[in-house]
Symmetry: C2
Subunit: 236 residues, 2 copies
């Protein structure tokens, strides 16, 4: 995680690399970052094939050729978008789980560890601003993409997931590995559907459950899935 991505995370204005000619005085982000932001937004809404390089460039307020200059191909742009924030989430999740285990010691629970795993992502999703919302929408999209989706997710997120599984195995020594992985699979699907923001939960519930409700998600998920993990143990 370099200084540039950290700035993007915190939303702090970023220094220009050179002194001269800022093109428009509006945004202080570099043009490269503006292209990444625009790509994040559009790809996360319409998918890879539903977005043209032209559309990304237009949304970023730059010329299409510039996108090719920075990222060579449309593939390269997409990969850059997906990669940009992955390390930040992973780092935050690791720190959170390590912190939980250190703080709780012998009193650690599966629910606590799951909450420590979920916390950073849900926090960034809910409070990181619209670009983080877009990023997690993109993760949701990739997570549900047949064929290459699984490989792409694995490439960036497997270590943290294995860290979670290892922690849970320690807390639930009787659990079979297959059950742990299946349970994580369920958790993953539920979490990314939340990130996808399809509007279905709100409509279906007549507004009684609102998918953007940070507190509601945070409060319910860890408990819900800890109970699910535990129920697996009871199965013959």
């Amino acid at each position: 995680m370099d200084a540039k991505t950290r700035d993007t995370l915190t939303g702090a204005p970023q220094m220009q690399r050179r002194v001269g000619r800022r093109r428009k005085d509006e945004a202080s982000a570099s043009l490269k970052d503006r292209i990444l932001d625009a790509g994040e937004n559009l790809f996360s809404r319409n998918g890879y094939h539903g977005v043209t390089v032209r559309a990304v460039a237009e949304a970023a307020g730059v010329d299409p050729a510039l996108a090719h200059y920075y990222f060579r191909t449309k593939d390269g742009l997409f990969a850059a978008v997906f990669e940009r924030r992955a390390a930040i989430v992973n780092q935050a999740r690791m720190t959170s789980m390590d912190g939980y285990e250190a703080a709780s010691g012998k009193r650690a629970t599966a629910e606590g560890l799951i909450d420590a795993f979920l916390g950073p992502a849900i926090e960034l999703w809910a409070r990181g601003g619209p670009q983080w919302k877009a990023y997690f929408r993109l993760v949701a999209l990739v997570n549900n993409t047949p064929q290459w989706g699984g490989a792409t997710m694995g490439k960036y997120f497997d270590p943290v997931i294995q860290r979670l599984i290892t922690g849970l195995r320690r807390l639930m020594p009787a659990a079979r590995d297959a059950d742990l992985y299946w349970s994580y699979h369920f958790l993953s699907g539920a979490l990314t559907l939340t990130f996808a923001e399809t509007g279905r939960l709100d409509k279906l519930s007549g507004g009684k459950a609102r998918s953007g409700d940070y507190a509601a998600v945070r409060k319910r998920m860890a408990r819900f899935f800890a109970a699910g993990f535990a129920a697996m143990l009871a199965t013959a």
Copy 2:
């Protein structure tokens, strides 16, 4: 559900409407159905924008103009594909839930009702052949599509879901509606990620959990999510 779709379900060969000229003696399905099959396959793998009408026509072995003749537009084709099997799944789920409640009477449980709800879909997915696999992959894709995905899912599947929620409310009178809807939301995400066949679960678990394993899904899901629903009740 008309005779044509039922034939598609059972896989029974379908009568030609007229006597004369069968183009190729290979498949007995009508060209229209062949186009739908090909669309189902391709859309479910690559999404709406990742598929061209030409590609669908080629996969179906027909001329591109024929797809336009039957479905007017690419949108029309996609909608026809999505709609085709929805009624069959809904019907099967309704029958299954009704049957469970009638058979179990006072001894009905949330886990039993959830299993009755899940059963038909998982059954068709696992044993209905490759076209049903493709169809559920498509449902997974739509379920996770921002903006219009939620509306499309709701249009076809809301009645059955409300039927499930109503049944669960009867079995768990103390449950708050928000909790029931959130719990269903989690279930929905987990189920459709399973249908998506991204290959991630298999890879992540090193083969210890296999996403295509019908028995594993069926056995675990109802128990897992019934425990989750129950845990919501215990929350303050």
